[in-house]
Amino acid sequence: MIKVKQISKRFNKELTLEDIEMEVNNGEVVGLVGPNGAGKTTLLNIIAGVWLPSEGTIEIDGYSVGDRSRETNQILGYIPDIPFIYPKLTGREFLQFVGSLYKVERETIDRKISELEKALEISFWLDGLMEAFPRGVRQKMMLAAMLLHSPRVLLLDEPTANLDPKSARIVKELLQRMAKQGASILLSTHILEIAERLCQRLVILDKGKIIAQGTIEELRQIAKSPLSNLEEIFLQLTGGEVYSELLKYLS
């Protein structure tokens, strides 16, 4: 479970995130949506513990992220928008390395690699150097690496951004299965179709603030448009005026 309490983040005195308050329960997939520069990646980085918040606290399964305890790291998996890679390692060596960073036994690592290589269709790439991997494969390799230690909390920044439709489908199903097994998943995405189909709840960020959060139904009520889809709700909440200006320009 993730509990974010009144998080703010300043970079050079400029407020990038302001008073963020949200939760992700066990077994729940929550989507973080918002325009470019809304603060989605910043929020994920802070929840993961890569950046410290200027104010506020974060709890992951009862552990405070500020303490940066090994316990928190052990239950957390974070997949950034630009995947971590070591160009001179093979995919398998990379997975073994990340597994050992999370103190997973060697036998377990090997067993999980053989499961994940089939599930994510990465067998072809496992023994090649990572520097030659296309972006999508890097993304899948990163996902595989973060699943090795079976995290109870998973943070994903644009997990399907570089994936082909088939791989995106596989990832979606994998995340749904993990949520069913009780994991808390927070993902940021620009693809509203994924957010709508995959997430039980959505958090809409704009200019560093949460402007709405809830289920699709609740968001419809907030936007006061009972029949609209997520795209329409999103555009209405995050700058309907700009959108109509754009349409005017295009016409």
Partner: protein, 555 residues
């Protein structure tokens, strides 16, 4: 014109980076600037001191200055070529930027010209500042006409263009012959080539004539006695003649030598232009191909067992990365000539000892000088691999910080991985040189222990400073070494080496004078205490701070 517009854009980018992180950036610029100014000021002081020293010994100081300038430029020539190759491989073939530039309605040769100018600036500005410092020292000390600055700027740019163009030509030609994906591997050969050239240049200077206990006087007589008639065909001598002509008021000399430099530089520029027109686009296109390297099995797994179990994953990752990176592996070869030079110098020292008679003072001097020299070699290795290793993790450092393994373990691995090879290298240097110099077994053992202390300190300082000043945004770890962090590293390491040598030298000096006396034991205890203080306050405490800092800073 595209080149001019592009240069203005670079200036704007620099200006904007000021705006972006005003305070941080200003602080960095000010610190970096101050350190560089301090460095050049020290060089200036050193030069004027040497001129003074020469004039007091009835050696014409300008002749001395001219010899020094000429030889420094000659020795640095291969380094400038090497730097040009590294910079051109990096800047002339930047994937994202050039992909964008090639989509613009601009002639591709103009894009090359713009990148050429950027590469020239990146590769040569430090050398330019050094040359200018030398000229400032000459002008102020010998009261030469201030017009020398104008001439020096033109001559310096022309002089620097020659090795730079040579480097670019080598890069273009070799990248055309061998696929670009393997071009970085060329650095191996080029590194060896440069190393050999440096050895050749140093050998030409006959360093054994420097190796007398008299020190500076022999340096002056050595410089005075250098024969260099054939060198008039080399650009370093033309540059030297430009400054000499200003000193003598020889207008014709100024024109002839400046013209020689400018004409040769121009010829090289034309050669670069022709090659670039023929090859640049094709090489750049080939550079986009991803390498199809299939890693083989490695048979050194057993070696991992010498490391503690919880560190092996890090060690394996670092060794594999090093092993498969041809640039990293290739630059190891540069240390072969360095080691050869080291043993050669020790051989010369031993020869000098035999000639001068083995007085206690000269023996101790040579003994400690040997350790200092070995310490410098180890420091060079640590500066190349240990110090930038943490910054080399780049954005992957996030992964390490998010891991369930504490950062302390990660730094421990860096310590071990740096210490083991450098310890072996240090011991080879010390034991080898002790054998060459005919030093007794007891003193060889002491030298070996001192080297152990030096190595552990050098590596610990490298890791600590590398952690405290890590820059995870650099594209190449070497950028950290070449930045202000590198200067801080060198200064701290030098202080440590000198401190350790002095502290360990005192009890030895007392022993040579009075044997196992009470004074000796007092000196020994004081030295151990002093070393303890250095290690505790200078290394252990900063190391702990560095770990805490790494855990807290935003990545």
């Amino acid at each position: 014109m595209f080149v001019a517009r592009w240069l203005i854009l670079q200036a704007k980018i620099l200006k904007n980076s000021f705006k972006e992180q005003e305070k941080q950036f200003l602080f960095r610029i000010v610190t970096q600037g101050l350190i560089f100014i301090l460095g050049f000021w020290l060089l200036y002081l050193f030069l004027t001191y040497m001129f003074d020293f020469a004039s007091k010994r009835n050696i014409r100081p300008f002749d001395f200055a001219a010899s020094l300038l000429s030889f420094v430029l000659l020795v640095f020539m291969p380094l400038l070529i090497y730097s040009a190759i590294i910079c051109s491989l990096h800047f002339l073939f930047q994937k994202e930027e050039i992909s964008f530039l090639f989509t613009l309605p601009v002639k591709r040769i103009q894009i090359f010209e713009a990148k050429f100018l950027q590469t020239f600036y990146k590769s040569s500005w430090v050398a330019f500042c050094g040359m200018l410092t030398f000229i400032i020292a000459l002008q102020t000390y010998f009261h030469i006409s201030p017009l020398i600055y104008l001439g020096a700027v033109i001559a310096s740019i022309a002089y620097l263009l020659i090795p730079f163009c040579l480097g670019v030509i080598l890069t273009l030609v070799l990248s055309r012959i061998i696929p670009f994906v393997r071009a970085k591997g060329l650095l191996t050969i080029v590194g060896l080539f440069v190393g050999s050239l440096i050895i050749l240049a140093i050998r030409m200077m006959q360093p054994e004539r420097l190796a007398t206990v008299e020190g500076k006087l022999s340096l002056l007589t050595f410089m005075e006695g250098l024969h260099r008639p054939w060198m008039t065909v080399l650009p370093n001598e033309w540059f030297n003649n430009v400054s000499a002509s200003y000193y003598q008021g020889d207008i014709a000399g100024i024109w002839v030598n400046t013209l020689a430099l400018v004409v040769v530089a121009f010829c090289f520029l034309v050669a670069v232009y022709i090659l670039a027109k023929a090859f640049y686009v094709r090489i750049w296109t080939e550079s986009l191909a991803t390498p199809a390297v299939i890693p083989g099995k490695y048979g050194w797994k057993v070696l991992l067992k010498i490391f503690p179990a919880h560190l092996r994953a890090f060690v394996k990752k670092d060794i594999l990365t090093f092993h498969r990176d041809t640039v990293e592996r290739g630059s190891l070869l540069l240390f072969i000539p360095m080691t050869a030079l080291y043993f050669y110098s020790m051989y010369v020292l031993a020869w000098q000892l035999r000639n001068y008679g083995e007085s206690t003072f000269s023996f101790l001097y040579e003994y400690l000088f040997n350790l200092f020299y070995a310490g410098i070699v180890i420091c060079g290795l640590a500066g190349r691999w240990v110090f930038p290793s943490l910054s080399g993790e780049g954005s992957n450092f996030k992964l390490l910080r998010l891991a369930a393994i504490p950062l302390r373990d990660f730094l421990k691995e860096k310590l071990w991985l740096g210490f083991i090879p450098l310890f072996i290298m240090g011991q080879i240097l010390v034991v080898g040189s002790c054998l060459i110099m005919g030093i007794s077994l007891e003193l060889s053992i002491i030298a070996s222990v001192i080297m152990l202390i030096l190595t552990s300190g050098i590596v610990s300082i490298g890791v600590t400073l590398g952690a405290r000043m890590a820059d995870f945004s650099v594209k190449e770890p070497l950028d950290v070494v070449l930045g202000y962090q590198g200067i801080v590293f060198v200064v701290v390491e030098l202080l440590f080496i000198i401190g350790t040598i002095v502290l360990t030298g005192i009890p030895l000096a007392v022993y040579f004078r009075s044997g196992f006396s009470s004074l000796y034991f007092f000196a020994l205890i004081a030295a151990i205490f002093g070393l303890g203080l250095i290690f505790y306050f200078g290394i252990y405490i900063p190391y702990q701070h560095a770990i805490a800092y790494l855990g807290k800073r935003d990545v």
